[in-house]
């Protein structure tokens, strides 16, 4: 009998519980939860990566080292648009050159344009996998993603206004833990409903017109709180209602598609400018139209597609007179440096709001 694989998948935002669930229940294999990202992760990643590759490459590489050291023998890495589609092959090469012994399942190698070829990758992970079970688990995973995204959205919109500090965070953390521990779909649903109920019971002191900021930007950095140095939490703590559209639910599971979003921003662009460009431009315009107080656009250094939409965002900013803060993250970005810029932005938008209201 073949030995059981110990599979890991690098940490992205809060979604690792989903991957864990899929591996354990859909593939019937052991999942090694990659250790939480730390400064060390980033340092190891940066040290072994080419200089000016975009930051997610470095962070994910560091996290793969963490996972291998935690005992994984098989790494799965996603395919993707943009440079992401080439991450896995180069990461595998770098890790093997460093001397690590493991198997990489590179989904990009299975990207042939036909979805059923991804099933071949699954077969490699576990040859005896049952298709029915896989499909069922997959559907349950999508549910979990939707729940995580919904709870997270609610969290960042309100946690800055609670009467008794810390209540939101407690519920939110317990919810994430429940998702990580979920053994079946009942656990998932129960954890979700519990968090919803508990959120509702928390007392809020929220002004009628709170400061509202929309956060947009590069897929990985905008979703992964460690990588963006907890930007949303920082804003919320200042008393801001934080909105972020970009998550798997919106961009992947229920994406409206290039055509439907594209027509809504046709005065700014005629074509799809990059993998998440249409969504981000559409979001920015949407926030502007709905009278948000500011937009924060973030990306990792050297991220070509996000740099390229900046002239469009500048035009939206001019047309709707909405301030936009542009943040670029690399492995050297410091917490204090970021805080200074975010505070200055906060001061500016709150002053503007007072002036506008008078």
């Amino acid at each position: 009998m073949a030995r059981e694989r110990k599979i890991s998948f690098p940490m992205v935002a809060n979604y690792n519980s989903v991957v864990k669930y899929f591996v354990e229940h859909g593939l019937n294999a052991a999942f090694i939860m990659p250790p939480k990202l730390t400064r060390r992760t980033v340092e190891i990643g940066a040290k072994n990566s080419p200089d000016y590759v975009c930051a997610p490459f470095k962070t994910l590489l560091g996290n793969m080292v963490d996972a291998l050291e935690a005992g994984a023998d098989t790494l799965v890495m996603t395919m993707g648009l943009c440079r992401l589609g080439y991450y896995a092959e180069l990461q595998e090469q770098i890790l093997k050159d460093l001397g690590y012994d493991f198997e990489m399942i590179n989904l990009a190698a299975y990207s042939t344009g036909k979805n059923r070829d991804y099933f071949k990758a699954v077969r490699r992970l576990n040859p005896r996998v049952s298709l029915g079970r896989l499909a069922l688990t997959f559907a349950e995973c999508l549910k979990m993603v939707e729940h995580i995204d919904e709870i997270e959205e609610e969290y960042y919109r309100n946690c800055g206004f609670e009467r008794h500090p810390g209540q939101y965070k407690k519920v939110y953390d317990r919810f994430l833990l429940n998702m990580e521990l979920a053994r079946n779909v009942r656990d998932i649903e129960a954890g979700y409903l519990k968090a919803k109920r508990e959120f509702q019971a928390i007392l809020l002191d929220k002004p009628e017109q709170p400061l509202r900021v929309g956060v947009i930007g590069e897929y990985f950095t905008v979703m992964d709180e460690f990588s963006n140095l907890y930007l949303e939490q920082k804003l919320a703590d200042m008393g801001v209602e934080v909105h972020r559209w970009m998550n798997l639910t919106h961009r992947n599971i229920h994406y409206q598609g290039q055509k439907n979003l594209g027509v809504q921003i046709s005065e700014y662009c005629r074509y799809e400018m990059g993998p998440t460009s249409t969504a981000n431009i559409w979001c920015a315009k949407n926030y502007a139209v709905h009278g948000f107080d500011g937009i924060i656009h973030l990306k990792s250094a050297g991220c070509t597609p996000e740099i390229d939409i900046m002239p469009v965002l500048q035009n939206i900013s001019r047309d709707y007179k909405i301030p936009v803060l542009y943040l670029t993250y690399d492995s050297q970005t410091s917490d204090t440096g970021l805080m200074t810029r975010v505070e200055a932005f906060y001061d500016m938008i709150s002053m503007r709001k007072q002036v506008v209201q008078i």
């Binding site: 080419p50 200089d51 000016y52 590759v53 975009c54 490459f57 943009c82 440079r83 589609g85 080439y86 991450y87 896995a88 092959e89 180069l90 090469q93 770098i94 050159d97 590179n106 990009a108 190698a109 990207s111 042939t112 344009g113 700014y268 662009c269 005629r270 074509y271 799809e272 400018m273 990059g274 993998p275 460009s277 250094a301 050297g302 070509t304 597609p305 740099i307 390229d308 939409i309 900046m310 002239p311 469009v312 500048q314 035009n315 670029t328």
Partner: protein, 318 residues
């Protein structure tokens, strides 16, 4: 040059098309010129890159974009007032695993947004084979958008395609001859808009020649074969132009003394592909040059000299 039968489609005055001599120009110039001229249109090409142009481009650009984009914007700006429409293509991909850098997806809208209030008009064609738009369809649509009939546009495209293929054939055979000299040979792998750029890439070629080294352009290669070879080195590499370069290195590695990788800071594809090349070809001496500033060539000479010395030493000529 005028084709029979299309004059009726042209209104009072035929618009003049501006072609920025940057990014895809070097790759597509023959195609573009032949296409427009067989439709009876006139074109104007921006001057070779100079310092002032780069300054203008950098001024218009977001500071973080790659050097090639800054150069491009400089060329676009230099054409203002000299033509009616400036051609800015949008190319997403030529098929599966044949993507372009996302820059070429964004370029048209990028340019339109940067120069929104200038009154300048731009002209696009859009290639997206995975999305069902072949190169032929892109050009035919372009021709029709300019007011020509489908038949004329198709004929112009085919004619242009033949001209481009012929020209390419000549260029490759000229390059092929270089591999047969006895002098020290260096394969230069870089995007054609860098290697051919008067301000950025040409000086490097001149230095090398002055030092008695024969520089050979890696991108001038039988493209089909290079694409085939590239996946033998790197199975999931996805960018058309990087694949051509990688394949070319694989095909020619034993025929040259060294390899120079030339890229623009901070180039997306090169940041990864060049790392892969360095790891996959440990036996060839490699010099990795990243052009990142406005005064391009400072310090370059010294690096080229010591690299040449290494190559000479290896050959026993020093």
């Amino acid at each position: 040059m005028k084709e029979k039968g299309n004059t009726a489609a042209v209104t009072a005055r035929t618009p003049v098309i501006g072609l920025p001599r940057a990014l895809l120009y070097e790759r597509e110039a023959v195609m573009w010129k032949a296409f427009f001229s067989s439709l009876g249109m006139r074109g104007i090409i921006s001057a070779p890159t100079n310092r002032e142009m780069l300054r203008l481009g950098a001024e218009a650009a977001i500071d973080e974009v790659c050097l090639s984009t800054k150069i491009y914007l400089g060329h676009v700006r230099s054409l203002f007032g000299k033509c009616d429409l400036i051609l800015v293509p949008r190319v997403s991909n030529y098929g599966l695993h044949r993507n372009m850098c996302t820059k070429f997806e964004s370029l048209y809208d990028l340019v339109c947004n940067v120069f929104r209030n200038t009154g300048q008009r731009f002209l696009a064609y859009n290639v997206d084979v995975l999305g069902g738009i072949s190169e032929e369809k892109a050009f035919v649509d372009l021709g029709m958008a300019l007011g020509f009939g489908r038949k004329d546009a198709v004929r112009a495209f085919r004619r242009a395609g033949r001209a481009a293929a012929e020209d390419w054939h000549k260029k490759i055979s000229r390059e092929e001859r270089l591999y047969r000299t006895d002098q020290i040979k260096v394969l230069v792998a870089g995007h054609s808009y860098l290697t051919e750029d008067a301000y950025i890439g040409r000086p490097l070629f001149q230095y090398l020649e002055e030092m008695g080294v024969v520089p050979i352009r890696a991108d001038r290669v039988d493209r089909k074969e290079a694409l085939r070879q590239s996946v033998r080195v790197s199975p999931t590499i996805k960018w058309e132009m990087s694949r051509e370069l990688l394949g070319s290195i694989q095909m020619h590695k034993s025929k040259v003394d060294g390899l120079i990788l030339m890229s623009a800071f901070p180039c997306g594809p090169d940041s990864m592909v060049n790392e892969m090349i360095i790891r996959k070809f440990p036996d060839i001496p490699i010099l990795n040059i990243v052009m990142d500033n406005q005064d391009g060539t400072a310090g370059l000479e010294t690096r080229l000299e010591s690299f040449t010395d290494i190559l000479k030493l290896k050959r026993g000529e020093l």
